[in-house]
């Protein structure tokens, strides 16, 4: 399942080889390369900042200790990493009941010592409407749509991360898309301009 190698791939291969022998700067470079997508993935699945941060930490702690288990003949490194992250997310979700969160709750995300990202405090913007709709999806559909859009994964890669057949990945994305479309269309009156608005 190897893709054709790009300069980026070659650089990653080099980093991985050095990281396997315990080279800390290489481990750190790998971390910096993937930390933001892993965080987006974890937040999209879990919808909780602290849980997402813990998944980031656990994912890298595990992955960088177990680089020898990564087989480049079987998968791309990012897919392997996302699979670990998804597994961590699912474990976390299993241990925790996920309450339904309303639009009003978004302003009450866990207190952070640093200022909240501006996107959170900006009320009723497009992104907030999208995230509010995402929260209404079932975990499986949300996993699928997050995987589809957070880092441009192919359906084949998605199927690998979700551990399901290719067609299942496709149908979950389609169902999620249709559900989001319906949610947003039904809330048409509260949507800001630009999200499913009139032509």
């Amino acid at each position: 399942m190897k893709n054709s190698a790009t300069p980026n791939d070659n650089q990653l291969t080099e980093l991985l080889s050095q990281a396997k022998s315990g080279d800390q700067p290489s481990c750190e470079a790998i971390y910096h390369r993937f930390v933001q997508p892993i965080y987006r993935l974890a937040y999209g699945v879990l919808l909780d900042i602290q849980d997402a941060e813990e998944v980031v930490q656990d994912t890298f702690a595990y992955a960088l200790r177990n680089l020898n288990r990564f087989d480049p003949e079987k998968s791309a490194f990012r897919t392997w990493l996302y699979t670990i992250a998804m597994c961590r997310c699912r474990n976390k979700r299993r241990r925790k009941w996920l309450p339904t969160i309303t639009l009003a709750d978004i302003a009450e995300l866990p207190a952070s010592p640093e200022p909240l990202p501006e996107a959170i405090v900006e009320a009723h913007n497009t992104r907030e409407v999208i995230w509010t709709a995402l929260r209404k999806l079932s975990p499986k559909l949300r996993e699928a749509i997050v995987l589809r859009y957070f880092d441009g994964l192919s359906y084949r890669e998605m199927a690998e991360v979700l551990n399901c057949p290719h067609k299942t990945a496709e149908s979950r994305v389609r169902l999620a898309h249709e559900a989001l479309y319906s949610i947003l269309a039904s809330q048409h009156d509260i949507l800001p301009e630009g999200v499913l608005g009139h032509e």
Partner: protein, 176 residues
């Protein structure tokens, strides 16, 4: 005009249709303003999803560093330390060879310099030399995240419990 294609629009936008089906949808929306308007909305939704999920949320640089500290505390395999430890007997032997020249053969070799077994890592030596300075491995991750780790973290070598031998020990490694 062919039949409306609303039911195919999500699959069309998500690139799941076979080329023939996709061409059918395309030909229909060219003719049908109602389906064309809906397709535009599906495409707008996909665009918003790409923006929302592909760019947000972002960890701030401080958080990125904090999480790295926390993850790497249990992450970095001790290969580097081991390779340094393997070199240690050689370095110490060299030091011992040179010591008579620097101390004028006084024989007053500081106990702490010799009370280092070959199995000790450089971090431990640093910790012994500078008892007030925390070694890199002793830095705790921020907040209480470390306690939440469910990983099978390898416990650090029990450097603090290892009593220093009273007498100098041979520097030859048991098993380099």
């Amino acid at each position: 005009m062919s039949r409306h294609v609303d039911h195919l629009l999500a699959a069309y936008v998500e690139q799941q249709l076979r080329p023939k089906q996709a061409a059918y949808v395309y030909r229909h929306v060219i003719e049908c303003p109602a389906c064309r308007a809906k397709l535009a909305q599906h495409e707008r939704l996909a665009g918003e999803l790409r923006m929302s999920l592909g760019q947000w949320p972002m960890l701030r640089p401080g958080q990125v560093q904090q999480l790295w500290l926390a993850a790497s505390t249990v992450t970095i395999p001790p290969a580097n330390r081991q390779s340094m430890a393997a070199l240690l007997p050689l370095l110490l032997s060299l030091l011992l060879l040179l010591m008579p020249f620097t101390t004028g053969f006084s024989g007053m070799i500081p106990n702490t310099a010799l009370a280092v077994t070959a199995s000790h890592s450089p971090g431990e030596i640093a910790a012994q030399a500078l008892p007030d300075m925390p070694s890199a491995r002793n830095i705790s991750p921020p907040e209480s995240r470390q306690a939440k780790l469910t990983l099978e973290a390898t416990p650090p070598p029990s450097e603090t419990e290892t009593p220093l031998p009273a007498k100098p020990v041979p520097l030859a490694p048991a098993n380099p």
